[in-house]
């Protein structure tokens, strides 16, 4: 049965498009103009790209299947609770102008949440591709690419600096309205391409690589909660910082500085949080020395 495979999900790239390994959730079993595509399969949820109402409206369906290893009553309650919490937080964020997907529909008992499809790639993908190309360029110029950290001082780092600032700003806006994310990583932020002519004029006169262009849209509020605690906010930033260091080690130093400046611009109380962040970092270092 499908039950056993859930604990060890296949990597999403190995999922054949026309052959789902799992039965579709009931909500997706009725006819649609294009078949739903499984985008990712996490430990807790599956994400499908599909349509909503009309063939022209793409949507993302987050589905939390029943977990056979959990007590069924407890499982149903947990699923309902999580779908509801995520839907409520997304709606709150959107009302307050925080860039997140719009909620289209939800059925907490059936375990699904239908939301706006955000085009583009996760920020992680854009940043890694950018770092890879930069390293190639350096190597072509005869430098040892791996050794040089990306500090942001060079003209060619401008795009990355600007993106970090946008990330900091999006996180600042989210914290400002009393939401902490709980799982901030560059995988949980989409880089949505600007609409034609909508991007900020960034002073580029020559041919410009659009790889890092786009608005940051924060996704995956499965572990988010309402909180105005500076400690919680600092932990959010710390998680992002650690995740960033492990997925994009070459740009680690640049990250903190720029993220902080975007964060400060968007959120008046930033100083208190950033001071707390220092403490959280210290605790983290101590813990890693002991463990």
């Amino acid at each position: 049965m499908a039950a056993a495979v859930i604990e060890e999900p296949p990597s999403s790239s190995s999922i054949p498009k026309d052959e789902h390994e799992f039965p579709l959730p009931a909500v997706l079993t009725y006819p649609s103009s294009t078949p739903p595509t499984l985008v990712t399969q996490g430990a807790e949820a599956r994400l499908y790209q599909t349509t909503y109402l009309l063939p022209s409206i793409p949507s993302a369906l987050k589905y939390r299947p029943p977990k056979p290893w959990r007590h069924p009553v407890l499982d149903a309650r947990l699923t309902r609770h999580r779908i509801l919490a995520e839907a409520r937080i997304l709606v709150k964020c959107r009302r307050e102008g925080v860039p997140v997907p719009a909620v289209y529909a939800a059925d907490e008992s059936a375990g699904w949440l239908m939301m706006e499809w955000i085009g583009g790639v996760p920020a992680r993908v854009g940043i890694n591709e950018w770092l890879r190309r930069r390293k190639e360029t350096e190597e072509a110029q005869g430098n040892e690419g791996d050794a040089t950290p990306v500090t942001g001082d060079k003209e060619e780092d401008k795009d990355l600096v600007a993106l970090m600032r946008r990330i900091g700003s999006a996180v600042g806006r989210m914290h400002k309205v009393g939401i902490v994310h709980g799982d901030l990583t560059t995988s949980n932020m989409m880089l949505r391409p600007w609409e034609e002519g909508k991007g900020p004029s960034n002073g580029h006169t020559v041919a410009h690589d659009p790889l890092l262009d786009g608005d940051i849209v924060i996704i995956d509020f499965g572990l988010a909660s309402q909180s105005s605690s500076d400690e919680d906010r600092a932990v959010d930033l710390y998680v992002l910082e650690r995740a960033f260091a492990s997925t994009h080690p070459r740009a680690e130093g640049l990250f903190s500085a720029v993220l902080e400046s975007g964060y400060r611009e968007a959120f008046k109380q930033a100083s208190v949080v950033l001071k707390k962040l220092e403490e959280v970092r210290m605790r983290g270092r101590k813990r890693s020395m002991i463990g």
């Binding site: 006819p31 109402l53 009309l54 009302r95 307050e96 529909a105």
Partner: protein, 201 residues
């Protein structure tokens, strides 16, 4: 005889069984809302439609979302109102108060513009889209308007103050700072959808 004006658009929604088809028409400057409302009150089966007051509607998207929700509720056997059409009207509401939903989103004797929707379910129904078309042409005294966002805007059918009140958008201050009118409308539209999706949750 010339073929009758087509006042209904037929839509097959995504992720809905092919037994369910949706038929929608928009009428402006309706003169006999009182009569139509009376047919609903007296439960005249011939007038079983979702009669929606167009002034509470921002977009095509919003109406289709309510219809989709009503269909899923009907399929799951969890309807809280007499039929799928009253369920559509209630699905427009951001809360679970049924009589308030009828008052705010449904037809009233003084409604000026109407969006009228019908879900035909085979094989139960013997009605055809052309029969519906003729029935509405014969009984709704108003000007047919296409069911598009452009027409809703051009005819200024939406009462934005009302929409903002019903969906609690008045305290969303940053919206007023959005200069681009299209963008502002799009944003209000999705906030309305969010309110509907969270109904009672």
């Amino acid at each position: 005889m010339a073929s009758p004006t087509k006042v209904l658009e037929t839509i097959q929604l995504e992720h809905v069984p092919s037994t369910h088809t949706v038929h929608i028409g928009v009428f402006k400057d309706v003169e006999n809302s009182e009569f139509l409302h009376q047919q609903l009150l007296s439960r005249n089966a011939e007038f079983e439609y979702a009669f929606i007051d167009a002034s509470s509607v921002t977009s095509r998207f919003q109406v289709l979302a309510a219809i989709y929700k009503a269909i899923t509720i009907q399929l799951s056997g969890a309807m809280k109102t007499p039929n799928i059409h009253s369920e559509i009207v209630c699905s427009l509401s951001p809360n679970n108060n049924i009589s308030e939903a009828y008052r705010r989103f449904g037809i009233t004797p003084s409604s000026k513009h109407l969006i009228i929707a019908k879900v035909l379910i085979t094989p139960q129904t013997t009605l055809t889209p052309s029969a519906l078309n003729e029935h509405l042409l014969a009984h709704v005294k108003g000007m047919p308007v296409p069911f598009t966002d452009e027409a809703l805007q051009a005819e200024q059918l939406t009462d934005w103050a009302k929409v903002r009140k019903y969906y609690k958008l008045n305290n969303v201050g940053w919206l007023d700072g959005v200069k681009d009118e299209t963008e502002k409308r799009r944003e209000m539209e999705v906030l309305v959808l969010g309110g509907m999706a969270l109904r009672g949750l």
